[in-house]
Amino acid sequence: MPAQVSAFKDAPIPAAAGIGLRAEHYRDLCAELPAVGWLEVHSENYFGAGGAPHHYLAKLRQHYPLSFHGVGMSIGSADRPDAAHLARLKELIGEYNPGLVSEHLSWSSIDGEFINDLLPLPYTEESLRHLVGQVDFVQHTLGCKILLENASTYLQYEQSEIPEWEFINTLAQKSGCGILLDVNNVFVNARNHGFDPFQYLERIDTRHVGEMHLAGHSVKNFGATEVRIDTHNRQVSDDVWRLYGRALAHHGAMPTLIEWDTDLPPLAVLLGEAAAAQSMLEQRHARAA
């Protein structure tokens, strides 16, 4: 689909701040080509064969490193991922040559029926064994490594016996996948389930981390209980910025994405968030130098 292979064909995603590319910003981005490190798209938004999505992505691909982030593979399902889904994703990887390909550590379908949401997994030995097999199957089918993101969750299962950080580390170690550390999700889950987010961050194995995510979330009250919902509809909260600072100190500078998916702001606001992350990344780079 891209008219010509860009200068970023083989470029890895830099340890800089990137933004999520959404249709509402296509025109502004193409017109301004702002100084942002890289772009990430939801792979499924390009499952269509042509039209505006591919027109703009091919254009922007010539100016920015690109990452593919999936929301619909359902890698945590007891079923194998849908063959047509993987085939289309593989085709797109061939066409656009993204620097990173990622998905979520969650499930969204069973017996062919889709919930189209990122549903929580029970952290058991059975799940772990199953996920190692799933990741292996997917990486083999796609012909590339994937990163898996710690998802935000609003419930835990009684049967879970492995802490999430340990589940993710072991999965990465046994399957060869990387970790997409979503700092906002760590915070959301810490508040929802009552654990120390700093401790979680530090227990994630740095060797496997390939990317970080930042996003805004909302607070919803159910009676006296407060639940943090991962809405991606506002600026990153101060708490999450603090946590991100700690994540950088501990894991080093990583490609960091600002995600914003609903109630999209003008591009300038999104770029402002990216600039804030970029300045923290530069401080981290300076300290490492």
């Binding site: 064969a49 042509g50 889709f114 029970p122 835990q156 009684e158």
Partner: protein
């Protein structure tokens, strides 16, 4: 303790209808909120997500019937139609058929056709980019072979006919003070096509029949017959020229190209290639 598959089946069934799988709530840690309440968060998320997917595709339906009424239709549709793909762009295909049989919509006779137009626009938006008819190759085709040629309808286009004035109904949403619209002011035959933006091209009965036959894979000869059957005055030459020029027809497959063959006599495109 349920295995992974059993747990996921129970979870999915609970999201569809909580009463059908109440036991799954016991598998959830009640930490400040009951398991059922926590599952409800996911249930609400799922519904909101699918509802906004339908709203994006069927904006015009929503504009015509109002937000609250649309929400009722969408929620009923979501209850009856499970999503079957991780790609949400595939969700909602049966909504036009659904509104046709959904009793609260019974008095809105035009609604299924408007919804169908919405789905076609969605398809056209995502469709493959069109190729171009190779006029040079066409000119090298022997005139006696023309009847056996097969054209392709632009992949980013769809045909629709209705007994209602769909384009006028569609435009109502963009008017500040929409006046009265006579729903019986005449039906329409349209080609919904992506040309930068999505446009509705009105077609005559013969052109519609012709393009419909082309879309079904029929040869030029067969499609011309279909056009003539719809209107004995169908002028194939001028229609075909317009359709190629405007990009409605994109590819042509000749049965056998004759090297250095005669010039095509039915094309008046004026261009040199």
């Amino acid at each position: 303790m349920p295995g992974l598959r059993e747990l996921q089946r129970g979870f999915a069934a609970h999201l569809r209808a909580p009463d059908s799988a109440p036991g799954i709530a016991d598998a959830v840690v009640a930490n400040g909120l009951s398991g059922a309440r926590r599952l409800q968060i996911y249930r609400n998320n799922m519904r909101a997500n699918l509802r906004s997917t339908l709203r994006n595709i069927y904006r015009t339906v929503e504009a015509l019937v109002g937000g609250e009424f649309f929400r009722g239709c969408a929620d009923a549709y979501i209850r009856e139609h499970a999503s079957t793909s991780g790609d949400l762009n595939r969700f909602g295909e049966n909504f036009p058929v659904f509104v046709k049989t959904f009793p609260p919509c019974a008095h809105l006779e035009y609604l299924p056709d408007v919804a169908q137009l919405g789905w076609l626009c969605h398809q056209v938006f995502l469709a493959e980019d069109a190729g171009r008819v190779d006029l040079g190759a066409l000119r090298r085709t022997n005139p006696e072979d023309h009847a056996a040629l097969r054209f392709a309808l632009n992949p980013a286009s769809r045909l629709i006919r209705s007994r209602f004035p769909l384009a006028a109904i569609w435009d109502l949403q963009f008017q500040k003070n929409p006046g009265e619209l006579d729903l019986n002011s005449g039906g329409c035959r349209l080609l919904v096509m992506r040309r930068g933006d999505i446009v509705f091209i009105p077609l005559a009965a013969a052109e519609f029949a012709f393009l419909d036959a082309v879309a079904a894979g029929q040869t030029l000869g067969e499609a011309a017959d279909a056009g003539l059957a719809a209107d004995a005055g169908f002028d194939l030459g001028s229609s075909l020229t317009r359709m190629v020029r405007e990009g409605m027809l994109t590819e042509v497959h000749a049965p056998a190209a004759a090297p250095g063959g005669a010039a095509a006599y039915i094309f008046h495109t004026g261009g040199s290639s």
